[in-house]
Every structure is written in C-alpha cells, then in structure tokens.
Amino acid sequence: MASTVIGANITIEGEVIADEDVVVQGTIRGKLSAKDGVTVEAGAVVEADVTGGPMSLAGQVTGNVTSTDRVELQSGARVVGNVKAARITIADGAHFKGNVDMDV
C-alpha cells in the first residue's frame, strides 16, 4: 500500500526522502530517495535522481535511476538518464536515452 502520493497538481522542489512507497503523479525537481517502491505515473514529471526499490516508470524522468530491485519502463514512459538495477524491462512504446548498468 502506498502511503505517499504526490498528486497531479503538486510540485516539490527539493529533496524527498521516504521509507515507504511513493507514487508520483505530479512534479518533483531535486532528488527522490525511497526505501521501497517508486511509481511514476503517466503525466508525472520527475527531474531528479531517483533511488529506491522496485520501480515502475510511466511518466517523464530526467535523471539517474538506481534501484535495489527492478526497474520497469512502461509504454509511454520518457526516461533520460542512466538506469542501474539488477533487472530492467523496457516496454514497447517506452522512450529511453541513457546507459543501463545491470551490475554483471
């Protein structure tokens, strides 16, 4: 259960640190660190380095993404930055520019 939701019309400029799941529907500029899952929904804008557990990205992410688990780039996602994760999926229709580091 996600207990933090950054709503569609909310903008955060700065650093967000969470020990729980984070769902982003709005805008974050700065830095996002979660201990658990991160969901960036379609329409969301994240201009930040993102670290966390399992991630599902469907919105626009500009910044480096680091996950201790898996990263899923959903169809319609727009990700510019390096992705570092043990597992990664890029769905048909996802836009991605950057490097992938699966730590092999």
Binding site: T4, V5, I6, A8, N9, I10, V16, E20, Q25
Partner: protein, 133 residues
Amino acid sequence: MAQAKTSAARHIPPRVGSRSDAGVLGTSVRIRGRISGEGDLQILGSVEGDVSVRGDLVIGETAHIESETLEAQAVTIAGELKGDVNATGPVRLGATARVQGDLKGSEISIEEGAQFAGRIEADFELPASLGKR
C-alpha cells in the same frame, strides 16, 4: 462560522491509485524544499521548507513542519509546526497541535489541549456590542 465546521468535517481518505489533485505525504517521508500545488495536500511526515497550495492543507498528528510560511485555503493542524500560516479560509488547531508562529485566516479556532505561541490575525467583524468597548 458554519463554513468552518463543514470544511473541518471534510475528511476524505486518500484515493490511492486513482488520479486526483490531492497529495499525501506519508509518515516516513522527509522533504527539504518547496512544495506548491493547485490541489489539496495532507502532510503526515517532516517538511523543511515553504508550502503553498491552492486547496486545503491538513497537517496530521505525526507531522513536523519547519517553514517560513504555509499558504493554503483551509488549514487544519494536528501536528507540530514552526512557521506562519497564511490561509484564505479557516485555520483550525486540533487538540494535539503544537504551533509556533503567526496565524492568519478567515476564522481561527483552537481546540482545548493545543499548544500555540504566536499572533492571530482574522478578518471578521465583531458584533457592534463588542466593538464599542
């Protein structure tokens, strides 16, 4: 006065998964920076920085906020706040609120048990009988 009661009673639980304008910052979340938005916002975690929303702002019991100013429509505070409140609607301090700062709103209410240090500025007209003193 009746307006303050209706907005305080409007406790809508967050609809997780559905798309809405509302935001919820959970108990374990710490934010350093500026938060702005058009919709409602519920803060249960820690915030260091200014908050400015067009909708209603709810500061939960577990929240710690240090800010220059909080701007919102109706503001309901049950947690800890160091900073000024500039509301266009009513400001309500619950019994568990600990507030250090100035409050400005259309109406201000402070429940028994709340801790408050600061000034209160509310735009309302006193009844003529009180104003003459």
